[in-house]
């Protein structure tokens, strides 16, 4: 752990990513305390509609007179909780499947990997949109739809690592001394396969925030009056070009957050993947 952090410290872009992620995390946790108008999560003030950015409202106000700065801050919690829920659910499905497919082999492995291929063959957004619609649009079905379409990425990675490791000499040696299968898989293979999973999860958090924003934008995710970034951009379209700030700032929030996770994920990958490390 310590050497990884030390290597990360030398990688300026990765440190920037880590910084962004930490700041977003703090904002998500302390949101209502940090926002100047926490009541604007729901309240409307029709007298101050669509005001441009000013000292009182740094990002301006929206069509219901709500402070966009506050709503951008309050939106972080929603975005992060969707991302964390989706990625952890996808991991809970994908990692065990990958372990089973990689270690057992045979028809079970074949079936799992075929299903994985099929799900991967359909662009995640299209499948998630279809699923979310079929389950009737809500934030929960959006999260479920995203989880159900993201797990194959983890299955692929864990499968590849497990195959590589279970063919290795050290696992052979463990079998030779009579170690039980669960012991080999959980104590010896999983810890070795975990670093690419962490890298994928980090990038996946950013990616999920992005796709969730698209779902929100298309009306398949958060519902008004939730302070959702994607939803805000969708609502703003009616008021363009006059209220340019309405669309701009929620979009910047998405951009910076996703960039933070991507930079951090890239940095972690460079440390974990020796092939790429060589090229730095």
């Amino acid at each position: 752990m310590i050497p990884i952090l030390r290597k990360l410290g030398r990688d300026l872009p990765a440190m920037l990513g880590l910084g962004i992620v930490l700041v977003v995390l703090v904002i998500a946790i302390l949101g209502p305390l940090l926002a100047p108008y926490p009541e604007d999560a729901a309240a409307a003030h029709l007298l101050r509609r669509l005001k441009p950015p000013s000292a009182a409202f740094p990002f301006g106000t929206d069509n219901l007179g709500r402070d966009i700065f506050s709503r951008v801050i309050l939106g972080a919690r929603g975005a992060l909780s969707i991302a964390l829920t989706v990625v952890s659910t996808a991991m809970a499905i994908g990692v065990p499947l990958g372990l089973i497919a990689g270690y057992r082999g045979g028809w079970l492995s074949e079936t799992i990997m075929r299903v994985t291929d099929v799900v991967l063959a359909i662009p995640q957004l299209v499948l998630a949109l279809a699923l979310a619609q079929l389950m009737s649009p809500s934030i929960e079905s959006a999260m479920l739809a995203l989880s159900l379409t993201y797990w194959p990425f983890f299955t692929r990675i864990v499968y590849a690592e497990t195959r590589r490791l279970s063919a290795s000499l050290f696992v052979d040696a463990l079998r030779g001394i009579g170690a039980s299968t669960p012991r080999i898989v959980f104590l010896h293979i999983l810890p070795n396969a975990i670093s690419p999973v962490i890298v994928r999860a980090t990038i996946g958090l950013g990616f999920t925030i992005l796709v969730a924003a698209v779902l929100g934008f298309l009306g398949m995710g958060a519902t008004p009056p939730a302070p959702d970034w994607g939803l805000a951009i969708a609502e703003s379209r009616t008021y363009l070009p006059r209220a340019w700030w309405y669309a701009t700032f929620p979009g910047l929030a998405i951009l910076i957050t996703v960039m933070g996770f991507n930079l951090l994920g890239d940095g972690l990958r460079d440390i974990v993947d020796p092939r790429l490390r060589r090229s730095r």
């Binding site: 872009p13 075929r114 299903v115 291929d117 099929v118 799900v119 063959a121 359909i122 662009p123 995640q124 957004l125 299209v126 499948l127 949109l129 279809a130 699923l131 619609q133 079929l134 389950m135 009737s136 950013g206 992005l210 924003a213 698209v214 934008f217 298309l218 009306g219 398949m220 994607g230 951009i233 703003s236 379209r237 363009l240 070009p241 340019w244 669309a247 701009t248 929620p250 979009g251 998405i254 951009l255 996703v258 960039m259 991507n262 930079l263 890239d266 092939r275 790429l276 060589r278 090229s279």
Partner: protein, 336 residues
């Protein structure tokens, strides 16, 4: 060569079969009853029962699946609840617009991304490299729908340089439909005014759509070049006095783009997905806006057909990528 291609095709067949099963299950095994959904909220139980009979929903599931397979095989994809037209006809009508947009975006990504990636690789760890790395992270992190709106805000609404939405200005008559590809049809009809206008309409959507792919291609080309430059043959070729430009743009690049080509295949999925949103924002009359419309109106036949189409196209593109891969690297062709 032929064996290589056939092998690739055989490899995706199970995936396509799986795709059929998944789409079938999507419609038939979701918690809500399709007949109830089709009939609408005000339907009586008798009406629902009639629909159930009409669509064969009362028969055993494997029989329904067989019927479904038969329909897909004859390209009978049902009727859109929204347009009241056969879905297959709608798709044929709209596919060229999507292909045109996707192709332009892909071309932009490749023709700008590959040279930039090579430059970043050559200038490894200098400021142009850092700049391109930051740019490529931004390109992946940006939400396409937001970027599209920002472009519209700046170039259409503020500056008025480019049209806001659509494929062609309403004041310009559409050329006769020959290929369905608007740019081609304009040229065939000899309508340069329409061609210019169509091209202007294409700029913002194509740029928006190309952004993610551009960033990915820059990243992978850069990594490929950095990897290739480490190989012994680069030193050997320098020692033998290869011309520098030819060494890089022919001999190194050819080795570096194999990873990029694989990425282009994967990108295609992203392009289709991105196209859904971009088309919706720019009112582009393609499959993407059709999909969004279907999703917003709960038009299941269309969603099913689009999922099927996208999965098939994706599989096809990946076969193509494998073949190009084989052509680029002769060692692959022999291994199979």
């Amino acid at each position: 060569m032929l064996r290589f291609v056939l092998r690739r095709v055989a490899l995706v067949l199970p995936s396509l079969a799986g795709l059929l099963v998944v789409t079938f299950l999507l419609i038939h095994a979701v918690p809500s009853d399709p007949a109830v959904a089709m009939a609408g909220d005000a339907a009586t139980p008798e009406q629902i029962e009639r629909l159930r009979k009409q669509y064969g929903l009362d028969r055993p599931i494997w029989e329904q699946f067989a019927v479904y397979l038969g329909k897909v095989a004859t390209l009978d994809l049902g009727e859109s609840a929204f347009t009241r037209r056969p879905v297959a006809r709608d798709i044929v009508q709209r596919l060229p617009a999507t292909l045109e947009l996707t192709f332009c975006a892909l071309a932009l990504s490749v023709f700008i991304g590959v040279p930039l990636g090579v430059m970043a690789g050559l200038k490894h760890n200098t400021w142009p490299d850092y700049l391109l790395r930051v740019f490529s992270v931004l390109g992946i992190a940006v939400a396409a729908f937001w970027f599209a709106i920002m472009l519209q805000l700046l170039f259409s609404m503020q500056l008025g340089w480019l049209p806001l939405r659509g494929e062609l200005d309403v004041s310009i008559a559409r050329p006769t439909r020959v290929t369905g590809f608007l740019l081609l049809d304009c040229l065939i009809a000899g309508r340069l005014d329409a061609f210019a206008d169509a091209a202007r309409h294409l700029v913002l959507p194509a740029v928006t759509l190309s952004l993610g792919g551009l960033a990915t291609i820059v990243r992978f080309t850069r990594a490929g070049v950095l990897d290739t430059l480490q190989h012994d043959f680069v030193f050997y070729e320098r020692a033998m006095g290869y011309r520098r430009l030819r060494l890089i743009w022919i001999y190194v690049l050819r080795n570096s783009v194999t990873a990029t080509v694989t990425q282009i295949g994967l990108l295609f999925g992203g392009l289709i997905a991105g196209g859904v949103v971009v088309e919706a924002i720019f009112d582009w009359p393609g499959i993407g806006s059709y999909t969004v419309q279907a999703i917003l109106t709960g038009d299941r036949q269309v969603m099913l057909a689009v999922t099927l189409l996208v999965g098939t196209v994706y599989a096809g593109v990946n076969i193509l990528v494998d073949v190009v891969h084989g052509l680029l690297d002769p060692r692959l062709m022999e291994r199979t």
